[in-house]
Point group: C2
Chain length 481, copies 2
């Protein structure tokens, strides 16, 4: 087998990659090559073969030679020819594959849980397909040709302009298009900032990085892998204890809605952390992961608005639209723009430029606002249903944090979290306990562990949410554990 | 100013981020807040304001209060109201912006050269917009909901299946969907393989890495930044001197069409490098950057077909369709799949999932083949025109390499490259000399420098190519330099 592939360097067809090396004339050689391609599985059942003329031109043979070869193989049963659908590889009850093919593995995506209440994703069934397609079509049709060439690493200016306006209006962000850099999401932004990409290049920001004592382990692990140590600071009822910032020059915060515990950073703390940054030359990385979703008429503007030169504001469409788009943005103090662009590379190497243009259109046409408003109502109603169901079935459980976002934390009596998570798993409910989000270096004396479960109420589709909620209530006993 | 932003945490509207903190009743407060938002530039001219009802609900005020406030501001000239287009921020001859706004910078994208003959990009004007939109629409409409949730880091199975079939047929690649990992392009693949992302994590592959003495400096720099030393091996008329592989266990090759010098790796060398990999436990990274484009009816199959367990085959749509899509693929020996997936992360964090599905549809529907065939004819004709023009205007200049790809190398008399490149620049022609692609550590004794210019004949649009060619011929003197 291997030998024929060596020889295939010599005489092969263009799109079909056929070898005509056999003896006995070109017709026979072509028949042999096609037969072998089907037998070995290289040409899968149902594959349409090129028209006579094309293959003949590619192989430098007469058109009749190809027609004869196809006819012969149809006669032999390798191919089928049907009016209007061309010549195709015959469907076989047992398709032949490579002899060397490794055994079929289990499908990589295991069957999901019966009820998915894990935090972190919006309702995937609510993606605004029609509106997005409208924006995508408009973007692709109206794009100047240069769009399809190498891209600007800052991202499309159309999107940066749309974001400048949108973020000012909806999030109180003060910026301009030249200070925005498009990225593939929050994790990519962290990599660009903390130099995970290129170890010799001087980093944009260095460690150690102060982080909230509860947060996303995925972020801490990504930073650790990039050589950046994270130092947890405790949380209290006003949010992160920013007065505890010590040697660190950089702090990562979720000011609008602490993840996962759910409170906003108190106004005095917001002012205090800005004061700290000004006094110490520090910088605040603001993870505005769900800032659009607040249900109590008291949305909190981005911390960035307080001091655009001290805050790096990071957002994405992963919670508002879908993580499938891989689009996010960094709003930067002017002094970091050059370094972040250098870390990103000399051309756009990450985010799909067509998706960038679509998102720009989606925002400026008002579709983004409409979608966010619709989802806000939906999630708000889901949160209300969660609160009501708990009040009825498990009144001793408190839903902590503000009415906001895509998840809620159910505070549990001390020592009961693990058994609650386990009971949920037994009932086919996927969710996480608070312990999964606790920074491993956070001392118990500093920040006592809290028992709780994190319920991602946005994750199920609309029709599945009721059943998930019922199942959750079944798992939580009606009286104190 | 800063103070109002601190307070804005207290009472603000949802999408509009308005602060109603003033005294004098809600109507006056709303008017003041809207006026300030327009004055400060946060609400840009032309921005449409939310309907009365929505804003009233968000702010918790009566609908009439909003209607009155809008009417007042229309009267004052801040807003305009027109039947059918709602209430909008008035267009002003001099729009007011942030006082703190930095001076307008020059547009980030400098004006391009008059004639762009730089290598590396396809004709951006030839992107198949209609066919791509058809595939995108079909993909988005038919996608199951889970598509819009967190993605599999291997990439969508639909695309991996389509690539398995396509790469077997068109490039002689032998693989299966489970061995393919989708990425954002070749540079991303290099980063995933050589551990540039996460420095603590054990790399998939280590250095030193043998590379061809002529290649893309961007790749070498990316590897150097990731701490991987590249060691050049010389080229001769049969391609890379793979007999010169020494201590290295990994080699990066462009076997189908050496970049940039333009020859294929000879069949004996192909066999030899596979033998080397088997004997030394080595691995070959195959950069199949333009394998679809060969114009002489002798396309060379991928090296990967010779030994799928020894070759990592990397391709992308950056040359065949557009670099704007940021889509590529790695075809991996089985033993590397787990490590590459681990380097990529637990979820798809890079390539747009919708674009992945579109590309799968684009391939299986035959659109990809049709586009490649069309572009092959176009580029072939451009190369023919280049050769003919040179034969007429500068007959002493040899076009080296095979009839393939998106670029050609014009061999120049020794010592004339620099002046030729400079003469081109003076005439507004952007192109590079061969020296720009020479590995800095390649010793002159080992690999004598060649004088030449690299002409990316695919880069201009169809209507601009003739003028670019004429300009190029004007720059090259009719007799020996």
């Amino acid at each position: 087998m291997a030998k024929s592939w060596v020889n295939s360097a010599e005489r092969i067809g263009a799109d079909l990659h056929l070898e005509l090396a056999g003896s006995g004339g070109r017709r026979a050689a072509l028949i042999g090559a096609l037969r072998e391609a089907v037998r070995s599985g290289r040409l899968a059942p149902g594959t349409r073969l090129p028209p006579y003329r094309s293959l003949a031109a590619d192989l430098g043979v007469a058109r009749n030679t190809v027609a004869d070869a196809y006819a012969e193989l149809v006669a032999e049963g390798w191919l089928t020819a049907r009016q209007g659908s061309g010549t195709r590889v015959a469907e076989r009850t047992e398709p032949l594959r490579h002899a060397a093919r490794v055994p079929e593995k289990a499908p990589p995506r295991a069957r999901g849980p019966r009820h998915d209440l894990r935090q972190g994703t919006p309702d995937a069934s609510a993606f605004p397909r029609a509106a997005w397609l409208t924006s995508y079509r408009r973007a692709v049709q109206q794009a100047p040709s240069e769009v399809f060439g190498p891209g600007d690493p800052a991202g499309r200016v159309e999107l940066r302009e749309a974001l400048t306006e949108y973020l000012a209006r909806a999030r109180g962000v003060r910026t301009e298009p030249d200070r925005i850099v498009i990225c593939s999401g929050f994790a990519h932004a962290l990599r660009l900032l903390f130099g995970g990409q290129d170890r010799a290049r001087s980093r944009v920001l260095g460690g150690p990085l102060a982080v909230e004592a509860y947060g996303l382990p995925f972020h801490w692990e990504l930073l650790a892998a990039a050589g950046v140590r994270t130092v947890p600071i405790p949380l209290d009822e006003h949010g992160a204890r920013v007065d505890r910032l010590a040697r660190e020059r950089t702090v990562l915060l979720t000011p609008a809605h602490q993840f996962p515990t759910g409170g906003p950073l108190h106004a005095t703390r917001r002012a205090a952390v800005i004061d700290w940054a000004r006094a110490r030359g520090g910088v605040i990385v603001e993870d505005d992961y769900d800032g659009e979703f607040r249900y109590d008429r008291k949305p909190v503007g981005a911390l960035q608005g307080l001091d655009p030169e001290r805050v790096i504001h990071i957002g994405s469409v992963s919670k508002s639209l879908s993580p499938a788009l891989r689009l996010g943005w960094m709003v930067l103090p002017e002094r970091y723009v050059g370094d972040v662009l250098a870390a990103k590379g000399e051309r756009e190497a990450w985010a799909s430029v067509l998706d960038q243009l679509s998102l720009a259109d989606f925002i400026t046409s008002g579709s983004y606002d409409r979608h966010v408003r619709r989802m806000r109502q939906r999630y708000r109603s889901r949160r209300d249903r969660l609160v009501a169901a708990l009040a009825e079935h498990a009144p001793y459980i408190e839903v902590t944090g503000i009415a906001a976002g895509l998840h809620a934390v159910l505070r549990l009596p001390p020592g009961t979290e693990r058994s609650a998570v386990r009971a949920a798993a037994w009932q086919g409910i996927a969710l996480d306990g608070l312990a999964a989000f606790r920074h491993p270096q956070s001392p118990e004396t500093d920040m006592p562990a809290r028992d709780g479960i994190v319920v991602g109420y946005a994750t199920p589709s609309e029709h599945a949410y009721g059943a998930a909620l019922d199942a959750l209530c079944q798992v939580l006993p009606p009286g104190p554990l």
